[in-house]
Every structure is written in structure tokens, then in C-alpha cells.
């Protein structure tokens, strides 16, 4: 059987694409570069939307990327069940594209924050978290200036009622409502989170943790069992 193929998207201003591709390869999958200007998903089995400052975060984080030619292909594919993980700027793009509800706004501190963040996995019934145990505590880096998750009361209530909160902060770094660090869509194939699993996959570099590997082994498991 050929390796699972995970697409890694590069927009102008994307920064963590190399990191994401390396993490994908570390778990034995194939990383397929996807270019923002192409109308082509190259037949990948899943898509990773990495962090960065796509289009300089001008106008609003993710607001321009959402209209990239590649997104014309990705949005319907995600609605049809293609597994998609967006981290940081990727999460912001997923919200702008209305694949996930709510929005990410300026941190409550008004400062960019880079730190090793304690988190709790709330949901393992997703394409990207099935390798974790429910309630498992992990450490991943956060690094963002606009990571404060906000949504209407109704949306929040629905997210909680439908078990769509995937990851929660233990010690909220940005003022996110309900300590939300990551959410999923109702189907569970689309997940967005502010922390960076791709920076916590090797002992030698990045955060002092390899907890990020779980996100990549999860998608592999999902694709192999599919």
C-alpha cells in the first residue's frame, strides 16, 4: 500500500509549512506541497493548513487566504469529508472560510505570546486526535498575537453541547472563551487549533515535548483504517 498523502498548503507568508511537512514525514506519511494559486489538491488524503502570516495578515488574519484559488477546491472537499487540520493561521483561515464557527481575535494581553502551553485533549473522536486518550494532558507551543477564540453565546453553547471543543488550555494564554484552544466541525474531519503540534515532534528541537506527534499519528491511523 502506498503511503498516506497529506497535503501541506503554502500561501504567500506561510511560515510553518516546512515544519508541518517534516512532521508528516516523521510518522511515515508523504507530504505533498500544495500551492495557494493552484486549483489542485493533487488527490491528497488529508490537508494541513500551517501557521504563518498569510498575505501579511493584512485586512484580517486569514481573510485574504480564504479567497485563494486552492480554497475553492479545499472548501467543498472539506465539506465532503476530507480531513483538514488548520493550526494557528490555518485555524484562522478555517474560521474565515466558515468551515469552523467563531473567530480568532487579538490576545487579551495585546502582546504576541510564544510559550510552551499545557493543554487538555477534550475530544478524541476526530481525524486528528484519535491517538490521544480523552482528558490527556499535553504540552505544545503556542505562538500568536491573535489567538483569542470568540463566538456568540449560542455557538459556544452548541460547541459544548456537541462535544466540538477538541483542545482546551490549562492556563489560558490569550483570553479565549471557555479556554478553547481548538475545535472541530460537526463531522469531526475538520479541526482547527492555535497551538502548534508540528513544533513538538522531536526531542532535539522545538518545544520540550513530543506530544505533537499524536496529531500526525492520528491522521495516519484514520487514513489507514479508512
Amino acid at each position: 500500500m502506498s503511503a498516506a498523502r497529506v497535503g501541506v498548503v503554502t500561501f504567500p507568508g506561510t511560515l510553518d509549512d516546512q515544519d508541518a511537512a517534516r512532521a508528516v514525514r516523521l510518522v511515515g506519511a508523504e507530504a505533498v506541497p500544495l500551492w495557494h494559486a493552484d486549483h489542485d489538491l493533487k488527490g491528497v488524503d488529508a490537508v494541513f493548513l500551517p501557521g504563518g502570516f498569510s498575505y501579511g495578515d493584512y485586512l484580517r488574519c486569514g481573510a485574504i487566504s480564504r479567497f485563494a484559488p486552492l480554497m475553492d477546491e479545499l472548501i467543498p472537499a472539506a465539506k465532503a469529508g476530507l480531513p483538514v487540520l488548520g493550526t494557528c493561521n490555518g485555524f484562522q483561515i478555517l474560521c474565515e472560510a466558515h468551515l469552523l464557527p467563531g473567530a480568532l481575535t487579538r490576545n487579551a494581553s495585546l502582546h504576541y505570546v510564544c510559550r510552551d502551553q499545557k493543554l487538555r485533549i477534550e475530544q478524541t473522536a476526530t481525524a486528528w486526535t484519535n491517538s490521544f486518550a480523552p482528558g490527556q494532558e499535553i504540552v505544545l507551543p503556542v505562538k500568536h498575537g491573535e489567538g483569542r477564540y470568540v463566538a456568540s453565546d449560542e455557538t459556544l453553547a452548541a460547541l459544548e453541547a456537541n462535544d466540538q471543543v477538541v483542545v482546551r488550555y490549562i492556563g489560558n494564554p490569550n483570553g479565549s472563551l471557555n479556554d478553547i484552544a481548538g475545535i472541530r466541525n460537526e463531522a469531526g474531519n475538520v479541526v482547527g487549533l492555535m497551538p502548534h503540534p508540528e513544533h513538538a515532534v522531536e526531542e532535539l528541537v522545538g518545544a520540550p515535548s513530543t506530544d505533537g506527534l499524536g496529531f500526525f499519528t492520528s491522521i495516519l491511523k484514520k487514513l489507514v483504517n479508512a
Binding site: 511560515l15 516546512q18 515544519d19 502570516f53 501579511g56 513544533h199 528541537v205
Partner: protein, 760 residues
């Protein structure tokens, strides 16, 4: 708002024909910072008066900032005294130096100041400081892989520091994070002497294959000159001569428009675009546009190439169509590069730029006339020999003498200061003082993880990055590079010769404690006005000291930057040479982490401790005293220590390490405990106060497995490095036997509370 494409009173453009016809027309050379004799020399070179555009070029190129006219005669020592180094591939004089780091890889690195702009407009000043140094690294053909910042501010509790520091940090954070370069270290120092002259020194390191070095040169008549990146606007006009080289009086508000505004998004596109251009081999020569913008790029490229260039200034893409040619020449708009490209390669070059949404325009071509000729509306407005602007600027032998009062300063030793009765309280006082407290408030605003190659970052002694996935198709390697920047203005004030050596020694040691072998040096020399003979003495002494020390330690200077005029009125900053050292480690897996990494390890002090308190943190914090002499710089001992550290790391003998510097052993022990929350119990090998707080150079703290101690001690013996077993790691407190005990938690609270209390 109405579109303004023409200024109401736009003057007729001065041209060469007109200049020849009106030899006596008064030109505003003094307003552009040029002295009468310098202006006379321009007239002599041209055989007529310069046009307005030519005056613009000469005034910026001959400014202190671009020409090094006051420092040149001293800086030559970095070349004449340079140690023989097989690693040096490109030395001083290019955009940045390049060193061979093995396995076919080369590293290029440089530190540069953006002091004056950062005082006027902290956010943009600091941001564009990062942008500028990153482009220097790009223009060598390298992929930038990390940045560091060495920052100095006025007193931590001063009102203006609350304006300058958050702005500077935010500027670095915004620009660097958006570029996708990990910020892996640096310094944050407070001293009242920097209140009107903060120092923002930015360092960037990049990697390239050693056979792919690019140079700033324009060879080959007929080759095209391409300007690419951002369009040109009115920012930073006169920045090079007015902002970077003039003392602030009190009209700094009026200078606000002279600070450039950065767009890190464009710079990120430029990085990826340039790397693709290099890979496609469509670049013959390249230069970034920094200080003095188009003036500098065209004159330097032409001077180092075939010697001539023709440029049509009307072709320069403008953000503000009302700009005059003089302003286009002086504009310091950011995120611009200039490349020399073979005509056949132009289509491929343009296609890559288009892929990355980077505007690119052919504005001229290389000639063999020996002249740089520029036209505007069909008229020749510049016709000069480019080398006269780029390389043959004025050179000054500024007078200098030892400052009045230097002897008295040196005679006022710390011997008269009362020693503390309570050493525990003194440790906590130092640990909570702004210079020694945790800098997390600053560094947590920087992305240290992006690119996933960061092996060590602040608060480690040196930053370290592995060499992985730098560019497509490169062979994997286990190697990594380590970098540290250090400086101590108080030491340099007491003795600039020794102060510069101590700055080098500390950076060198910081690289060695991580297990990396120090290879090469960059420096940023921050001083007051060179027109003050006392400042000039400090400068001359510092350069002499640094050049001598580089020779002894065997590490050549590869480049750097001089920042003069860091003074307000008659008061100059403490002389502050900041030194960056780059080292290489053969296998990053053998890097030595910072501090106490686990229980039951033997704590070992390396190097000799003498009673040296001149310029120390203790004298500064406890007594607000600055006098006497700084610690002795024993460079032979420093070299032996580094040899031991690097060899021990290679053999896997070291579990953790930490350099001893500001605050001495006491602070090093506390920081080592804080690294992973591991305590230690130690006994002191002499007078407790001296052992704990003296700042003798050439020392480090290491932890080794007990069973590895004998092998390590014999290694130390072989290199004559004194080695004292102080005790063992473990527990939840730092226990100094017969003296005191402090819970690690209390250390942490004291250490981490200071900056948030000051800056929110």
C-alpha cells in the same frame, strides 16, 4: 483626498549640463551633513559643481554611517591583526562575512545597529533594523535561519523606557515573527546612560552551500540591472546622513518622517523569491538596498564590477509619484533588492518574481565606461566615477586622548564599598534587579520555534540551530551553528581596551559552553561622537583591544558596524562594543543544555576566582558604584576553557553547563537551578562573598555524572583549567553550605517578577 502627482512648486531638475553652465550656484551641502572640504573634493572629482542628484549620492555615501570615515583607520586592525583562519571564506567589506562550517556548508552572519531610528520611533526603528540585517544575509546568497537582538535601554524605571522598550520589542516581534525567523537569543540591558540613546543591535545568521556565495558586484557590460521588491516611497529620505549620523538635540519630533516603515510580508516573499532566483542561477551580482538606498546599491555594484552603469531613474517604481530624483536616490524604503542579470536570464528572473508576487523592473544596465550615468526625463542628472562615492570617501584621523577623569575613575575602586552581611539577601537583590531578572517578558514575544531547527534559545547561553532543510536538494548533515552576543558598557567605560576583550571573551565562552567551537566574530561598536577626542579614545582603545583579543583567541572579525553619535548634548553613552561570536558543533545531538538538568549530578566550577568587583553587578545594584578596573581578561585561560568545554561535550561528559558572568557564581547557580527547577547543594572553595559575587572572567559552571568526573577532571588538568567540585544537584532549594538556602520557587518568583512589574 485628491491625488497629488505633481508638487505645486516642483523645482526644475538639476542636470549635468546645467551644472556645467552654473558653476557658482550654491548647493545645500551643509544641510545634507557635508563639510566644506568634503564638498570641495566632490567638485574636484567632477571638475564642476555636482548636480542635486550627485550631491545626494555623495552626501549619503560619504556620511559617517556609510563611509566609516572616522573609524576606518582603526578598523584596519581587524584585518592587519587577523588570526590565520582557514574557515574564513569572505571577510570584511562585503554585505556580511562568510565562514566555512564543514560538510560543504558556509554560514554568514552580521550584527548591525538601528539605534537612532529606534529612539525616534521605537516600533518601526527596531523592525526595520531586523529587516535590514536579514537582507544583508540574503544578499550573500544565503537563507537566513535565525535572528538575535542585543538591546540597551535607559533605567528600567525611567518614564521614557516605558515608551521605548515596549515599542522596540513589539517592532522586533512583529517583523521577525512575520518573517518566519526564530529569535534565538540576545541581551536586554538597562543603564541610565542609554536613556536618550537606546541601543538596538540586530544580528542575523544565514546558511548557504560554500560554492554558492553571491557578491555585490556588477560585471559584464550589457547585463541588466533589476530593482525588485517594494516600490520606492518618501521614507527615510536623508536617513543615512541626517538620522544615522547626527546627534539628537531636541527636535527629534521633527525627524519622525525620516524613519523607514517596514513590511515584513514583502520581506518574507523576497527571501523565498531570492532563494529561488539563486537556485535557478539567474543572478550575477546582488545587493540589498539599505542605508542610502539606490545611491548605495548602484555605486557599490558598479564600483565592484566592470566599473560602469547606466540607470534610467524614471523607471524606478514609485509609491509616491511626486518624488524628485534626489529623493529617489536617498530614499530608504525597505524590502528592496538590486540584482545584475544576464539579458538571456531576464525572462526566467521575471517569472520567479511573478510567482512570488514580487514586483521587478529593469532600470538600467552594466557598462564599461567607468561612469555611473543616470538619466531623468531624458536629461543626464548623474555622471560620476562610482568608486569615488562608494570607496574613496573621506578618511579622518580624528584626534583622541584619554578622558579627563579616567585616572580618578580607575582609582575609585570598589574596595571602599561595604560588603554585605546577608549574602542570601544580596543574591535575591541581584536576581530581582532588572539586568539579571528573567527576560521572559521580552522573549515570550518572539517566535523561537519557527522552522523547527532551534536546538537552544534564550535563556540558554547561546542560541543553536541545526542545519536541516535549508534549501532543496542539500545533503543532510549533523552539524549546527551556535551564536551569542555580549557586551558590557560599564566594563568598557572603566577600560575600553579590556571591556572590548571581555565582551568577546564572554560571547566566545557562551558559544563554547554549548559544546560548539567558536569560529568567527562580528561586532557592533556603539559610541558617542567621534568629534569628541575622549570618545574617540574609547573607540580607538576598544578596537585595539578587540583586534588583539581576536588574534589571541584565533577568531577573525568577519564584519560588523560602527554606530557613532550615541550621545545627547555633551553626554555620551558608556562605550559599548557588542560582540557576536559564531561557533559550529559537529553533531547537534551532543549539544550541552543550560543549567542543572537532573538530580545527583556533580556541580563543577571551572576557572579561577579573584576578588574582582570593578564594574560588577553587585557594585552597580547594591551601591550604584562604577569605578576601579574591570575583571582581568585572561585570553589564554579563556581559550583553554573553551577547548575543555568543546572536547568534553564531544566526549559526552557534560550533562549541563552555564557561563559565569554578570552577578558571578551566585547568579549562575540560581539560573542553573531555574533552568529545570532542580536545586543543588554546594560548598564554596574560599571567601564566601568573593566566591559568590566576583565577576572574574574565564569561568563556567558544569554538571557531570559522578562516574564521569574523573575523566573530566583529568581533561581539565591536561589543559591547566582549574576545576573545583562544589557539590551535587538535587532537591528543591539552592543550598550554599554554611551560608544560606533558598527554595527554587523563591528564586523563580524573584527572578520572574521584576520585568512584568515594570512593563505590565
Amino acid at each position: 483626498m485628491s491625488e497629488r502627482s505633481e508638487r505645486p512648486n516642483k523645482p526644475a531638475t538639476d542636470n549635468v549640463k546645467r551644472a556645467a553652465e552654473t558653476p557658482d550656484e550654491l548647493m545645500p551641502f551643509a544641510e545634507l551633513g557635508m563639510k566644506q572640504d568634503e564638498y570641495d573634493r566632490v567638485k574636484e572629482i567632477l571638475g564642476r559643481r555636482p548636480t542635486g542628484s550627485e550631491l545626494a549620492i555623495y552626501s549619503v555615501m560619504w556620511s559617517e554611517h556609510c563611509s566609516y570615515k572616522s573609524s576606518k583607520v582603526h578598523l584596519r586592525q581587524f584585518a592587519t591583526k587577523a588570526p590565520k583562519s582557514e574557515a574564513l571564506l569572505v571577510g570584511m567589506g562585503e554585505n556580511a562575512g562568510v565562514v566555512d562550517i564543514g560538510d560543504g556548508w558556509a554560514a554568514t552572519f552580521k550584527i548591525e545597529s538601528h539605534n537612532h531610528p529606534s529612539y525616534v520611533e521605537p516600533h518601526q526603528g527596531a523592525a526595520t533594523g531586523v529587516g535590514g540585517i536579514v537582507r544583508d544575509i540574503m544578499s550573500m546568497g544565503a537563507r537566513p535561519i535565525a535572528v538575535m537582538d542585543s538591546l540597551r535601554f535607559g533605567g528600567a524605571d525611567a518614564v521614557d523606557t516605558r515608551r521605548v522598550l515596549p515599542g522596540v520589542v513589539e517592532g522586533i516581534s512583529h517583523y521577525g515573527n512575520c518573517l518566519g525567523l526564530p529569535n534565538i537569543g540576545g541581551e536586554v540591558v538597562f543603564d541610565p546612560c542609554y536613556i536618550g540613546n537606546p541601543l538596538v543591535n540586530a544580528l542575523c545568521v544565514g546558511l548557504l552551500r560554500k560554492d554558492q556565495i553571491k557578491l555585490a558586484t556588477a560585471p559584464g557590460p550589457g547585463n541588466k540591472v533589476v530593482l525588485f521588491g517594494a516600490s520606492t516611497g518618501p521614507d527615510g529620505i536623508g536617513g543615512a546622513s541626517v538620522l544615522a549620523s547626527a546627534t539628537f538635540e531636541d527636535e527629534s519630533q521633527a525627524k519622525r518622517p525620516a524613519v523607514q516603515v517596514g513590511d515584513p510580508f514583502m520581506e518574507k516573499l523576497l527571501i523565498e523569491c531570492c532563494l529561488e532566483l539563486y537556485a535557478a542561477d539567474v543572478v550575477v551580482g546582488i545587493q540589498d538596498l539599505g542605508a542610502a538606498g539606490v545611491s548605495c546599491a548602484t555605486t557599490e555594484l558598479a564600483a565592484k564590477g566592470t566599473g560602469g552603469m547606466r540607470v534610467d531613474l524614471n523607471l524606478v517604481p514609485l509609491r509616491d509619484p511626486s518624488l524628485l530624483p534626489e529623493e529617489i536616490l536617498m530614499s530608504e524604503s525597505q524590502e528592496r533588492m538590486m540584482a545584475v542579470v544576464r539579458p538571456d536570464d531576464i525572462p526566467a528572473f521575471m517569472a520567479i518574481c511573478e510567482k512570488w508576487d514580487v514586483p521587478a523592473t529593469v532600470i538600467g544596465e552594466v557598462t564599461d565606461t567607468g561612469r555611473l550615468v543616470m538619466t531623468w526625463d531624458g536629461e543626464v542628472i548623474v555622471d560620476i566615477p562610482p568608486g569615488t562615492a562608494a570607496d574613496e570617501g573621506p578618511v579622518y584621523e580624528r584626534p583622541y586622548h584619554e578622558p579627563v577623569g579616567q585616572a580618578a575613575l580607575n582609582a575609585d575602586t570598589p574596595d571602599r564599598l561595604e560588603r554585605p552581611a546577608d549574602l542570601r539577601a544580596t543574591l535575591l537583590q541581584l536576581l530581582g534587579s532588572p539586568n539579571l531578572a528573567s527576560k521572559e517578558w521580552v522573549t515570550s514575544q518572539y517566535d523561537r520555534y519557527v522552522r523547527s531547527n532551534t536546538v537552544l534559545a534564550q535563556p540558554a547561553d547561546a542560541g543553536m540551530v541545526r542545519i536541516s532543510e535549508v534549501m532543496a536538494g542539500a545533503e543532510p548533515t549533523t552539524r549546527g551553528v551556535a551564536l551569542s552576543t555580549d557586551g558590557n558598557g560599564r566594563y568598557a567605560k572603566l577600560d575600553p581596551y579590556a571591556g572590548a576583550q571581555l565582551a568577546l571573551a564572554e560571547a566566545y565562552r557562551n558559544v563554547a559552553v554549548t559544546g560548539a567551537k567558536p569560529l568567527a566574530v562580528t561586532n557592533c561598536l556603539n559610541f558617542g561622537s567621534p568629534e569628541d577626542p575622549e570618545v574617540m579614545w574609547q573607540f580607538a582603545e576598544a578596537v585595539r583591544g578587540l583586534a588583539d583579543a581576536c588574534r589571541t583567541l584565533g577568531v577573525p572579525v568577519t564584519g560588523g558596524n560602527v554606530s557613532f553619535y550615541n550621545q545627547t548634548g555633551a553626554t555620551a553613552i558608556n562605550p559599548t562594543p557588542v560582540v557576536g561570536v559564531l561557533g559550529v558543533i559537529e553533531d547537534v545531538a551532543k549539544r550541552v543544555p543550560s543549567g542543572f538538568v537532573g538530580d545527583g549530578l556533580r556541580v563543577v566550577l571551572l576557572g579561577d576566582t579573584r576578588e574582582e568587583f570593578g564594574g560588577s553587578e553587585w557594585a552597580h545594584v547594591a551601591h550604584h558604584h562604577l569605578g576601579g578596573l574591570p575583571p582581568a581578561a585572561n585570553l589564554e585561560a579563556e581559550r583553554a576553557l573553551a577547548t575543555v568545554l568543546v572536547e568534553a561535550a564531544r566526549r559526552g561528559l557534560l550533562e549541563g553547563s552555564h557561563d559565569l558572568s554578570d552577578g558571578g557564581l551566585a547568579v549562575a547557580l540560581a539560573e542553573s537551578c531555574l533552568a529545570r527547577g532542580v536545586g543543588a547543594t554546594v560548598a564554596l572553595p574560599g571567601d564566601a562573598f568573593t566566591c559568590l559575587f566576583s565577576e572574574s572572567a574565564g569561568r563556567a559552571l558544569v554538571v557531570v555524572r559522578p562516574e564521569a568526573y574523573d575523566e573530566f577532571a583529568s581533561l581539565c588538568g591536561r589543559h591547566d583549567v582549574p576545576c573545583y567540585g562544589l557539590g551535587y544537584t538535587g532537591g528543591s532549594a539552592l543550598v550554599v553550605e554554611d551560608e544560606f538556602s533558598v527554595p527554587v520557587e523563591e528564586l523563580r518568583e524573584t527572578h520572574s517578577a521584576a520585568l512584568p512589574a515594570l512593563f505590565g
